[in-house]
């Protein structure tokens, strides 16, 4: 490389070259190494996921039929179904959402738009961040003491939903705040300058612009909730319920508990049941994410950036 500089071409002026030399070579190498590292990391994740899916589908797909979805649980693997489990999961999803969504979003709006920046606000902020990191089993213990025992709600769908709502509140609050933060100040200013009240500004400008972010956060949070097992076991959700819940006060089980129960049996037939149930649970999560993408897309179209 250095040579080209020394060799005059035609007249005396050395020829210009734009080849890498010295430090740039090093930077380029750095670039390349990182690229391959990132690629390897991504592929590793993908490969593990594909293997997992493959193993689940291989074991469970044959077991998956309409009867499996509509049958009650049974001691005999071939007769057992997941009807009580998925209805339980849907109940929990629904109730958890209607409890956590309004509270979480309101808290996010309050913290971002109304609370003044004082020590109290900082304290709340730090605690919410901490809450997001508390192991879910702790929420289970809280739910057991407060909802199941103290409020006497028992091991009901309501207790489970309240517990999971607590669990996902910090996620919803944080993602609501993040979404609201991305709304430029100039937008609020424009609204206030026209005589809009604070609430009018939040409702007409800030929220529409942050809805995509909020929805994504909420759906991620719910996806997390439907995968939770530990806190629900702690509050006393059963591994075997003979009937699907029909009211918030009924006993219940959910998909992950059912799967956990089947996986822990030694018989191969139950392992197949578990795999089939996993496929259904994954499908529910997948559908949720699809809904999230759709809603995001729709709300983004409404906001005409």
């Amino acid at each position: 490389m250095e040579e080209t500089l020394e060799k005059p071409v035609g007249n005396k002026k050395p020829k210009m070259t734009f080849e890498s030399k010295g430090r740039t070579v090093y930077y380029q190498m750095q670039d390349r190494i990182f690229k391959y590292f990132a690629l390897a990391a991504t592929s590793l994740g993908l490969i593990v996921l594909v293997l997992l899916l493959y193993s689940v589908f291989e074991n469970g797909f044959g077991r998956l039929d309409w009867d499996f979805i509509t049958s009650l649980p049974s001691k005999r693997a071939s007769k057992a179904g997941i009807y009580t489990a998925w209805t339980g999961t849907l109940w929990i999803m629904f109730l958890t959402t209607i409890i956590a969504f309004p509270i979480g979003v309101s808290a996010g709006i309050y913290l971002e738009e109304y609370s003044s920046r004082n020590r109290m606000a900082n304290l709340i902020e730090i605690n919410i961040a901490n809450l997001a990191g508390v192991p879910s089993i702790i929420y289970g213990l809280l739910g057991l003491e407060v909802f199941a025992r103290f409020l006497n709600l028992g091991a009901s769908v309501l207790t489970g939903s309240l517990t999971l709502a607590l669990l996902i509140l910090p996620i919803i609050i944080v993602s609501t705040r993040e979404a609201i933060k991305t709304v430029p100040y100039t937008l609020r200013e424009a609204s206030f300058a026209l005589g809009a009240s604070k609430w009018q500004t939040i409702w007409n400008q800030v929220l529409p612009a942050s809805v995509p972010g909020i929805i994504t956060g909420v759906i991620l949070a719910i996806s997390r909730a439907i995968g939770e097992t530990a806190p629900l076991i702690v509050i006393g959700a059963l591994t075997y319920v003979p009937f699907a819940p029909t009211s918030p006060m009924d006993e219940f089980t959910v998909m992950p508990i059912q799967i956990f129960n089947w996986v822990s049996r030694p018989q191969k037939a139950f392992a197949e049941n578990a795999a089939a149930a996993i496929i259904v649970l994954l499908s529910i999560t997948f559908v949720m994410n699809a809904i999230a993408v759709y809603l995001r897309h729709r709300s983004q179209k409404k906001v005409k950036w």
Binding site: T186, A190, G195, A196, K304
Partner: protein, 249 residues
């Protein structure tokens, strides 16, 4: 109608940025605020629609009277005040909505629901802002599809739709190209008949072209306030002289 400021002092935290401004502004005139960057023009302008109230650290003292009533009186409804004192910002800041909805917003938040009335008002406001011909076929399109100059005129239309009597403009053309700037200046000239306009500018030609009166600010003080022609041709203060001849700023 008349605007009167009496000994207005403003500070951000412990830093005082306006040190007692007294001036009076007549109806249907254009008043330009000039002065070097950071001298407090925007801060003073934002006292008239109490936008400074939004800044937690900002404290305003003194008195501002519009039509004989003290706008800092505790009984004043700040939202009502802002409806009669419109504002246009330095950078065009349309809402991420359609062109139509941008202009209709001020009416909607006032509880106007009559569709016909809103349509008429929107058309009227956009015409006032000399933008109608350019947007009449795409009112449903996003305001962000417009050029910067058009966006700024849309912001003016948006402010006019709520029928303010005073219009505050904070360097409304500083982010625009020369042709758009000319359009905005013509617009200001035409709007004078129906509105009292205060415009902040650091462009002295703009001040001479658009305004009747000019106020020169320097480091939080009002140095000189006079007819625009007089102030630029025959300033009474040395500081003004230095500034308009470009010796600092």
């Amino acid at each position: 109608m008349k605007i009167e400021a009496n000994n207005v002092r403003v500070s951000y935290g412990s830093e005082q940025v306006l040190k007692g401004i007294t001036m009076s502004i007549k109806k249907n005139t254009v008043t330009a605020f000039i002065g070097p960057s950071g001298c407090g023009k925007s801060t003073f302008l934002r006292c008239f629609n109490r936008m400074n109230d939004l800044i937690e650290t900002c404290k305003v003292e003194g008195e501002i009277m519009i039509d004989e009533s003290d706008i800092y009186h505790p009984k004043v409804n700040i939202n009502e005040l802002r409806k009669s004192v419109g504002m246009v910002f330095q950078k065009p800041n349309p809402f991420p909505k359609s062109i139509f909805e941008n202009v209709a917003y001020g009416l909607r938040i006032n509880g106007v629901t009559n569709k016909k009335y809103i349509e008429e008002k929107v058309e009227w406001a956009i015409k006032q802002a000399a933008l109608w011909d350019e947007v009449k076929d795409k009112l449903k399109k996003s305001a962000f599809a417009l050029s910067g100059g058009q966006q700024q005129r849309l912001c003016i239309a948006r402010a006019l739709a709520v029928e303010p009597s005073i219009l505050l403009m904070d360097e409304p053309a500083s982010a625009l190209d020369p042709i758009s700037t000319t359009k905005i200046e013509e617009l200001i000239y035409n709007l004078k008949a129906s509105y009292t306009i205060i415009i902040v500018t650091h462009n002295m030609q703009q001040a001479t072209r658009t305004s009747d009166k000019t106020a020169f600010f320097y480091m939080g003080d009002l140095i000189e306030y006079d007819d625009t022609r007089t102030l630029f041709t025959n300033p009474k203060k040395q500081k003004t002289q230095n500034y308009i001849t470009g010796r600092f700023g």
